[in-house]
């Protein structure tokens, strides 16, 4: 008895110095691009929020793959399924809130009209 639970063998995480360095370089490049896009007129102005969103989502992907080592390997199936569920819930909360609040805002009656109705 060595006090170990069954299956308690040492496992290497799938990272290496190269993985982390590549991830860092990608993350720096995407962060730099975000700053440039937001501070210059390089992008068509109404498209800047969409551009920033794309860069942010790309950088989150880089962090997931290179830092958190989410991969398609067999040990990772459960992690990926949980991640997909998390992304679904986050999308529902953020998009749903924005949608509902924009709708409520649009159907708000103008305060001046209410004053007239009370007369």
């Amino acid at each position: 008895m060595d006090g170990k639970a069954p299956g308690d063998t040492e496992r290497k995480t799938s990272g290496s110095v190269v993985t982390y360095t590549v991830g860092l370089v990608f993350a720096l490049a995407l962060t730099g691009a975000s700053f440039i896009v937001s501070q210059t007129n390089l992008l068509w102005t109404p498209g800047v929020p969409a551009g920033l969103a794309v860069l942010a989502i790309a950088q989150m992907g880089v962090h997931l793959v290179f830092f958190l080592h989410i991969s398609t390997g067999p040990d990772n199936t459960n992690n990926v399924i949980a991640l997909a569920f998390g992304v679904l819930i986050v999308t529902l909360i953020v998009v749903g809130s924005l949608w509902i609040m924009a709708n409520l805002n649009a159907s708000m009656v103008d305060p001046a009209t209410i004053m007239q109705m009370q007369r």
């Binding site: 008895m1 170990k4 639970a5 069954p6 299956g7 308690d8 063998t9 040492e10 496992r11 290497k12 995480t13 990272g15 290496s16 110095v17 982390y20 360095t21 991830g23 860092l24 993350a27 720096l28 962060t31 975000s34 700053f35 896009v37 937001s38 501070q39 800047v48 929020p49 920033l52 969103a53 860069l55 942010a56 950088q59 989150m60 962090h63 997931l64 830092f67 958190l68 067999p74 040990d75 459960n78 992690n79 949980a82 991640l83 569920f85 998390g86 819930i89 986050v90 909360i93 953020v94 749903g96 809130s97 924005l98 609040m101």
Partner: protein, 210 residues
Amino acid sequence: MNAPSHGARLPGLGSTMARGAEGPAPVQIVVAYGFWIFLLSDIIMFSALFAAYAVLSGQTAGGPSGRELFELRHVGIETLCLLFSSYTCGLGLLAMERRHMSAFYGCFALTFVLGATFLGLELSEFVGMIARGAGPSRSAFLSAFFSLVGLHGAHVTVGLSWLIFMLAQTAAQGPRDYVRRRILCFSLFWHALDIVWVGLLSLVYLMGAR
């Protein structure tokens, strides 16, 4: 004690129960999975505050807007601190796996210094804003800003305390199995905080300062 065989497949699940045939999954995989579920629930909590901020970001009630308050140079330094602390945290985890203990202590000490610098910069930003009369009670925009960015800052504070605890535990007990699993969980937590910061940087600061 031999590993008990959990090989019996449930009817109808077939080969999707791949783990069943090989016995239980390694403890490290199970621990990392459980902690990953916690991190996702944490990110879902953040998403609610992100949604609140996105809805309220225009409601300045005549007070200062993001364009007047945010200093992008300041925010850029914060971003670099957090990104490099994530990198050194990953290198520290690798050093721990290879039992390079001095490299591990060096990397994690650097992670702590970078994280503490981030926190100091964020606190000085908060103090400066409150001194200008732009505290959380000024407008709905600022309430949402302080809850969202403040919650991230609180997570960083918890992470830094955890980091000190793990350094002390490693020094006292050596690189045992459970110590290494806790360090793995800490590194997952720290990387997840960096992911949340990417969202904060883009939505709050870069869009707000335009």
